[in-house]
């Protein structure tokens, strides 16, 4: 005979099992790299996409400091401070380093978590790969730089040409004046 207490325990266990499956499936499904980080900046949980994006297995990266993937000096402390202060960080630019040391331009967003005592208990951090748009932007910047240099070169050529033309004009004027004077002089001489 099952007592009421045992029955409740059985139901609770079933609910817990469902919840476990739900949480695991959700972290596995999330199609973006996300991790949960504690106030020590230690990574405590990651999505399946984070594994693929970083190249680290769950067992390799959980328990490691966030600086493993964001090694820029002071960056993660800044993120932690901003998240604590404002609750969120929105689209901050960063460079993510994968397990095989590949640098990827990303933007990160965070959202803080608080416990039942309203103490800061860590934060979620999501990563968006912006390397394509960053590469495009770089290419565009390089093109603009190239065109600007070309333009400057042409302006400089024009300036030289203008200088030359002006010099030529002045010379022509001087020569015309000289001819005029000579003509005047020769006219006077013939009339004499």
């Amino acid at each position: 005979m099952i007592t009421k207490k045992e029955e409740v325990k059985k139901i609770n266990n079933k609910e817990l099992k469902n919840l476990e499956g739900y949480i695991k499936d959700f972290w596995k499904f999330l199609p973006i790299p996300v991790c949960f980080v504690n106030p020590f900046n230690t990574i405590l949980n990651i999505t399946g996409k984070f594994e693929k994006f970083s190249g680290y297995k769950e067992t390799e990266i959980i328990g490691e400091n966030l600086s493993t993937v964001f090694p820029a000096q002071g960056f993660i402390l800044e993120v932690l401070a901003d998240t604590r202060e404002n609750g969120v960080v929105d689209k901050k630019e960063a460079i993510f380093i994968t397990k095989d040391k590949k640098e990827i331009y990303v933007t990160i967003s965070t959202s803080q978590r608080k416990d039942e005592e309203d103490s800061f208990s860590g934060y979620f951090l999501s990563i968006s790969d912006v390397s394509e748009s960053k590469t495009f932007q770089k290419k565009l910047e390089e093109e603009v730089k190239g065109k600007t240099e070309e333009l400057q070169r042409k302006v400089s050529e024009l300036e030289k040409f203008q200088k030359f033309s002006v010099g030529r004009e002045v010379k022509m004027r001087e020569l015309k004046k000289k001819i005029g004077r000579l003509e005047e002089r020769s006219g006077t001489a013939s009339s004499e």
């Binding site: 099992k17 020590f40 067992t59 959980i62 328990g63 208990s121 860590g122």
Partner: protein, 195 residues
């Protein structure tokens, strides 16, 4: 080699363990030996008629001795040295669902230390884990495990487990388990130091 008599003794031991320990064992075996390795373990469990379910839910309950049986089987099937068993313990908190549920306590070392007995109770219904001393200035923590017989293989596992737990907060921690006596009774203590 693990024998039936030893296994029966383990299964008959009083107390329960949560299925999460089998989940973390599976993760480790899969990573090291792949699906073929897991099949070897499952076949061995079947051969010995043990009620271990490696697809168990984290909160399902099993006889406490199966925690040790699982480690002994893994050790035997792959001929792994003790260091590998320590590493299973070291890796377990990283993938443990229960640890993930309790991660809210990883916010300060003081808060974490207060909750250490909870971590044990969430996994095992037998044994009592208590904090003997905690000195944040000296960077030392001494834990004592009483009211439980600890198999030498589990002893090694726990050393790795405690070490990793502290590393979630203090990266450089090192744990060392030793047998001791408390109030005239044998017990186990774990000294964890960090820099």
């Amino acid at each position: 080699m693990i024998n039936k008599e030893e296994l029966n003794k383990l299964i008959e031991a009083k107390g329960e363990v949560k299925g999460v320990v089998f989940q973390t064992d599976v993760k480790y075996v899969l990573e090291k030996e792949g699906e073929a390795g897991l099949k070897k373990i499952e076949d061995k469990v079947k051969e010995l008629g043990l009620p271990i379910n490696y697809k168990s839910g984290a909160m399902d309950s099993y006889p406490i001795g199966l925690r040790i049986a699982s480690l002994l089987l893994i050790k035997e099937v792959f001929s792994w040295p003790d260091s590998e068993i320590r590493n299973i313990g070291y890796t377990a908190p990283k993938t443990s669902f229960i640890v993930k549920l309790l991660m809210k306590f990883f916010i300060s070392i003081e808060k974490f230390v207060k909750k250490i007995p909870t971590f044990w109770d969430q996994h095992y219904t037998r044994g009592k884990l208590e904090v003997v001393s905690f000195n944040n200035e000296k960077k030392e923590l001494l834990l004592r495990l009483t009211e439980a017989e600890i198999h030498p293989t589990f002893f090694i596992y726990l050393e790795g487990y405690f070490e990793k737990m502290l590393q979630f907060l203090e990266k450089t921690s090192k744990a060392e388990m030793k047998e001791s006596v408390h109030e005239g009774k044998p017990c186990h203590e774990c000294l964890i130091k960090w820099e």
